[in-house]
């Protein structure tokens, strides 16, 4: 059962959906999860990561903070009378490797208002990010590298 981890996650989701964590229900959830995984077994590459809960929490915290900050920033920006915008796209050199990490990073970048990852180069090396305020791409790169990417690596790198 190579999807065990995922299946467990699904089970948790199931519990959450049906809002009950009684063993019976969880068992059922597990069964359902297994079934739906089995359906698409041929599509997925098994992913196995050492889970580091603490780091995850840190990542989450960072994410929340980033959110709060940038959201307010953009909100203010938007609500201004005249919007001083210097939008643009900058290329971000990736250090993360696996699909999962890249995906996660891209999502986080996108989720934080003001930055938006639009594309990945064919050789998973560059991530193209669109920023509302692209006055200084270097700084932005710094932020991402220091922030999300580091946290992610800490959380998932083996």
């Amino acid at each position: 059962m190579k999807f065990l981890a995922i299946n467990l996650i699904l089970t948790v989701i199931w519990g959450t959906i049906s809002a009950s964590f009684t063993p019976a229900n969880l068992l059922l959830g597990f069964a359902v999860g297994a079934l739906s995984l089995w359906l698409i077994r041929r599509e997925l590459k098994p992913v196995t990561y050492p889970i580091r809960p603490l780091r995850l929490v840190l990542l989450l915290a960072l994410f929340i903070k980033e959110l709060a900050v940038s959201a307010t920033k953009v909100a203010i920006l938007v609500t201004r009378k005249k919007m001083a915008l210097k939008p643009g796209i900058f290329a971000y050199p990736l250090t993360a490797r696996s699909d999962f990490e890249i995906t996660l990073l891209a999502n986080l970048i996108t989720l934080t208002p003001g930055t938006l990852s639009v594309d990945v180069s064919g050789d998973r090396k560059t991530l193209y990010v669109h920023a509302l305020d692209c006055a200084d791409p270097g700084a932005l790169r710094q932020d991402i590298a220091r922030g999300f990417e580091r946290r992610i690596r800490e959380a998932f790198e083996r």
Binding site: I17, A19, Y128
Partner: protein, 123 residues
């Protein structure tokens, strides 16, 4: 409105606050959608909604029901999770789609980037 009276004052105020803030965020997001000049800028607007609005409103709901003790509060969590997972996909796809379309159509408001690989040499 029996259930709202059940809420202790602090909870009530908190709920209202969260709710209002969330709604405000959402509204702002939409305003952004409305006002921002180019498509790429507009792409950013919904992120405010999703991140700010969703989370706040869902917190409000969680708090409300948690206090009311009426049920488990995981639903909102789930909602938040799903939203956070799915929204970026849409946005990215849209962004790229418009990139390609612009590359094809070449209208005036194309950003400084001409295709995904223009930057390679700029690096």
């Amino acid at each position: 409105m029996s259930h709202l009276t059940d809420l202790p004052a602090w909870a009530a105020i908190a709920v209202c606050g969260l709710l209002l803030m969330g709604a405000a965020m959402t509204l702002i997001g939409s305003i952004g959608l409305l006002r921002l000049p180019t498509f790429y800028d507009r792409l950013h607007a919904p992120t405010i909604t999703t991140s700010g609005g969703t989370i706040l409103v869902c917190f409000a709901s969680m708090l409300c029901f948690a206090v009311l003790q009426s049920r488990w509060i995981f639903h909102e969590v789930l909602i938040i999770v799903f939203i956070t997972v799915t929204t970026p996909v849409t946005l990215m796809l849209l962004g790229q789609a418009s990139l390609y379309r612009h590359r094809f159509e070449k209208p005036q408001d194309v950003p400084l980037k001409q295709g995904p690989h223009a930057e390679k040499d700029r690096e």
